[in-house]
Symmetry: C2
Amino acid sequence: MNFTKQKPLILVTNDDGIMAPGLRHLVSLAMQLGEVLVVAPDSPRSGQGHAITLEEPLRLRKVTYSLPVEAYECSGTPVDCVKLAKNVLLKTRSIDLCVSGINHGSNSSINIIYSGTMSAATEAALENIPSVGFSLLDYSFEADFTQCSKYISKIMKEVMTNPASPFTLLNVNIPKLLEKEIRGIKVCRQGNARWVEDFVESKDPRGQSYYWLTGKFVNEDAGSDTDVYALEQGYISVVPATFDLTHYKQLQHWETLKEIQIDDV
Amino acid sequence: MNFTKQKPLILVTNDDGIMAPGLRHLVSLAMQLGEVLVVAPDSPRSGQGHAITLEEPLRLRKVTYSLPVEAYECSGTPVDCVKLAKNVLLKTRSIDLCVSGINHGSNSSINIIYSGTMSAATEAALENIPSVGFSLLDYSFEADFTQCSKYISKIMKEVMTNPASPFTLLNVNIPKLLEKEIRGIKVCRQGNARWVEDFVESKDPRGQSYYWLTGKFVNEDAGSDTDVYALEQGYISVVPATFDLTHYKQLQHWETLKEIQIDDV
């Protein structure tokens, strides 16, 4: 890798794969702010969460990208991409910013937990690389990513120049609106919405059942301070996120478990 | 499914797969407390995090288990197992407790985020099923799971009879000690330890490089209130966990992003 140290180094990844238009648009914006390294899955890896590849070896292949940046496709998950970028491709050169996306579809609310895009950003954050995941609420391959360009550029700049603290991670979701219709940015908590799921059952030619996951996103959270609410109102939602999953409010309650002693059990 | 409603219904899953001794031991303990349904991956799925299967159909096959319980193996991830149990096998019958494990190896600290065992428990919790993931700090297939049996039974009972609040999720890690050596239970926060990673590079017969992930667990957290510390001291660690990833302490800091308006960008 031949990156200079004069400019910030920005790692760009995603979960929709190296061919995704959302990735290309994010790369084009990152190029305006620094030197760019792209490491993305060689095929779509949506819903991979924080999966890593342990049972198989990983492949990493340099590719000619449609923009003049150094780019690699990886056989593994989005989280694997970040690990390989850091430990194999860059080693001693530090990463100044990691951006993941632009995801084709929402990662608001509970989606953050299933999302490969957000998990890649999380992996960077836990390595103390300031990190942002971007998602547009449009699943289409032909989604118009240009309408939110100026906001994305500004958020990247803000995070690079003014990290809140070590281990910064932002979950940014963008409504499917024209630039002039976007009402601004809201800083939010993660909404307590969820998927009400169903499985479609079919039979294969041998008569064996198989199931496809399907579901409906349901918001049961009445708060006006959530990401889901902000998006409904036409705002870009920003949720500062963490990988410390401790439920601090419940610590006290479970103190009773300490009373379990070997004599009692 | 022919479960009575007289007894609690306990769903048991894991990420080491349906053949794992740790699963079998957890099933044997759950049988003492209620009716048991086992749905586990058909092969080991460690490190799958919160991955779900979207690009392929899922298979679910009834198997004859080594204990007299209803058991299914699933072609998907641990999270898929929970979704299939709830939505395909049980539908209207509610689940009183979900237990995941006993994992062969630690899920303390940051391991929770990579762990299929813990992600299955998380999936249950976000469906408002009281849920516990159990892990023993012994990766061996022949690990002795009997030494912690009484503690596990007691924790399961506590959670079923006294849920702290909706959406309970406990991450329980158990030191590799004899029963008489275990000093008790500590309720902890998630330690801020992490993996310092490396990739072993090899060449395939065609001369192409491939990489295996490897790494060393490093605890940089000096706190004596962490799960890592409790385990080192010979205690069973219990971390109440959440799927709300909002970094509440950083909300205020990022309020500055609200100032970004379309005229500025």
